[in-house]
Amino acid sequence: MSAANAWTVPAVREALEAKKLSARELTAEFYSRIERKNPELNAVLALSPERAYAQADRIDKLRARNEKLPPLAGVPVAIKDVISTRGIRTTCGSRILENYVPPYDATAVEKLESAGAVILGKTNCDEFAMGSSNENSAYGPVRNPVATDRVPGGSSGGSAAAVAAGLAVAALGTDTGGSIRQPGAFCGIPAMMPTYGRVSRYGLIAFASSLDRIGPFATTVRDAAAVLSVIEGHDTNDSTSAAVPASDYFEEMEKPIRGMRIGIPVEYFGEGMDPEVRAKIEAGIELMKQIGCQPVELRMPHTEYAIATYYIVATAEASSNLARFDGVRYGLRVHAGSLREMYKKTRGRGFGAEVKRRIMLGTYALSSGYYDAYYLRAQKVRTLIARDFILAFEKVDAIVTPTSPTTAFRLGERTMNPLAMYLADIYTVTGSLAGIPGISVPCGTTSDGLPVGLQIFGPRFAESRVLQLAHAFEKANGFLI
């Protein structure tokens, strides 16, 4: 792990407690890193120094009085720009919200701040979280800190790049079809999608409501768990948030994994996978075997239908959710003589190509005469995909797969062919549709130095088991395979 990543949640705590530095000094250090590195990476879109220093000063006051520090005291974090932050510009990577400043905080943000975290600013992302490369941001692409001619992945590319480059100790991203896990894999850091409903979506600007989840990026599995344990929990402001108690991840993570059955679905090792990625994942599975896991070959027959299902369900929901951007209440307005014309011109100018394409696809799938053939059918296939997982988890404790069939690709390499870009989401969209938790952890690098991500899925609400396996893999040096 590079020096840029030396700060972790425990390291921050230790430094603050030992009075080696103040929260204000640490905040200033991270802002100077952003100032130095962000011009090249474009990972951060907006900074919130007033709010960050006010929070740092609160933490420093607690330290001065020798009071107990909250769990993320002084930890510098960044927030994906689709998550609302009171008083901090929130654009969703879109021109249509170029000057939007939310009047309230998302629950996850409020919880982070209550736990002592210092919010540095907002991270770049694909427009409305639609994309797998971060090239769909209206504010320019993000560059992968591992190799700056490469994409960081998407849609939470800015959050992944910021953490991987040491511009934040942790970050929040959102995952609808792989948007946390895939950029985590491309940038070489742990990245977790919790169970649907585990983290409140209140204040998350919706893309696809039945799929969207907020989750953490960090440099260690422990840090990802530290952030998750703060942001999770039932919230009366989100009717889909779950009242399922979480376990103590730190305690669970240390439990032995010996005898755990890990499912290896054959469908995730078919054609289209880069041979070097395959070799690393196979080495990763071998390592898990050495530390006591028992691999079990699985069949998940509906995997091949996941992309088609996902791109109907997600775009249908998006077409409905994004109807609110009409130039009336917030954001851009293009003036026109009639209301209808104002809507059309505002949306025509405010949205980028990928967002328009998905609104079109979703509107088509929901339109009269096509609803049954597309949307309803996709919802039924979604049941079959979820059932594949339910049946699998009767036989195994967790499922291990690659996160992405390739490593980070070059900027511009896939922008001309949207379908090819969609197809590369094959290993992540399944878990999104099924509502289950998944983590991507680093699993070595290929010969050209690009990170490979290994994905671990668990049953719904079994975050502790996913983290336990990921942590054991990390301890056994799996990240460096």
Binding site: V101, P103, Y104, Y196, G197, S210, T236, D238, S239, T240, S241, A242, A243, H302, E304, Y305, T309, Y311, I312, A323, G327, V328, R329, Y330, G331, R333, G337, L339, R340, E341, M342, Y343, K344, K345, R347, G348, F351, A353, K356, R357, I359, M360, T363, Y364, S367, Y374, L376, R377, A378, Q379, K380, V381, R382, T383, L384, P418, L419, Y422, L433, R460
Partner: protein, 100 residues
């Protein structure tokens, strides 16, 4: 061909999206390719399958009850109106929609 130029124009109208000429042509081709791929779903017999309309069945309240509907203070009207492209408190302003 699954999608014609007229389909694109019709859907854009439904979605309140103004598209320029080159977008109409590009989207026609791209949506055609995507929908052709999505036809894969027709290979499956789903006649006896329930659609997954909810991810978690009443996750928030297993007994199916919603939270109590109580009035809570929500003092953000001014802050919200400040974000509007055009407003006259306490209203948003839009082009005239009803003719006298």
């Amino acid at each position: 061909m699954k999608i014609s130029r007229d389909d694109v124009l019709y859907v854009a109208e439904l979605a309140n999206l103004e598209l320029n000429e080159s977008e109409v042509e590009t989207f026609r081709g791209q949506l055609d390719a995507i929908l052709t791929y999505i036809d894969k779903l027709k290979q499956l017999d789903v006649s006896d399958v329930e659609p997954m309309a909810q991810v978690l069945q009443s996750a928030a309240s297993p007994d199916g009850a919603l939270r109590e509907d109580v009035v809570r203070k929500c003092d953000v009207a001014d802050a919200i109106l400040e974000q509007a492209p055009e407003a006259k408190k306490p209203y948003f302003r839009v082009p005239k929609v009803i003719e006298r």
